[in-house]
Subunit: 139 residues, 2 copies
DNA sequence: CTGCGTGCAAAGTATTTGCAAACCG
DNA sequence: CGGTTTGCAAATACTTTGCACGCAG
């Protein structure tokens, strides 16, 4: 289940600690973008001692390893979500504004054209907000 | 020059203060996304006393009036840019990562489809980064 | 064993709030 | 003049850093 992600860590010679495994499992157990504090609160039950800085450090590490993607939400909090795209194919995320569930999608030739208004396109960040099917049924 | 924007304020019964006019003119004088501190430093020359909170408050006000658009940059700072689209047609921004110049563009039917992966699309935020023509020549 | 990983405390940084004084309309 | 707007100081909130101890490999 979590092997793909743990492998990514080992490949780069990072250690597999209980906390790191727990963080990845936490993401796996919910299809959501999560912020450091939520994860911390969720895992404090499991670990008697658990520091918030440790969560921050690991999330940042994971995002550098291609395990998580990081976004800045308008509420000024950091959020991270599991990168489920098997290969590292470029993709986008759609977030449910009610429950936070995240989906991924590929907009094929979104910017196949490499220049816009004279700007040479280097990269882009696309965030789509919506309501997921589960939340639509509820309301 | 700045009338369109000042009118938007007056329409909503907000007062036209020297500071507000100066902020709008500051944006007009540079085609850039700017963050509160830059504006503050730029205008302190002009006003002997000028508080940073005042900048924050006005930028937020302007964005609510449709004068500016607000984005959260990955560096955790707020940035605002003039909304030049005459009508309030939905548009996107492309930002030069060297000089900060911002261009606008319209990707017509970017999400004409109203659902993605079962999510009902409410809105989206697209930011493209690139190098503007001027900066390309320089380097 | 060795160096990476972690908890804890403290610092850092961007933004927001409270309030009295100043000012637009 | 009355209610906005503002400066200043202080508070807030999230994230980062330093350092000594602990643990994975």
């Amino acid at each position: 289940m979590n092997e793909i992600y743990l492998n990514k860590l080992q490949e780069k010679n990072f250690k597999l600690t209980p906390r790191r495994i727990a963080i990845i499992d936490f993401f796996l157990s919910r299809e959501r973008y999560l912020n450091p504090e939520i994860i911390w609160k969720g895992l404090k039950k499991k670990f008697k001692h658990l520091g918030l800085p440790s969560i921050y450090r690991n999330l940042e590490l994971f995002s550098k390893c291609g395990i998580l993607t990081k976004i800045q939400m308008p509420n000024r909090k950091l959020y991270y979500g599991l990168c489920k795209a098997k290969d590292n194919k470029h993709h986008h995320h759609i977030v449910c504004i009610k429950c936070g569930k995240v989906g991924e999608f590929f907009e094929e030739n979104l910017f196949e054209k490499k220049t816009i208004n004279g700007f040479k396109v280097l990269n882009h960040f696309l965030q789509v907000e919506g309501i997921c099917s589960t939340c639509r049924i509820k309301s």
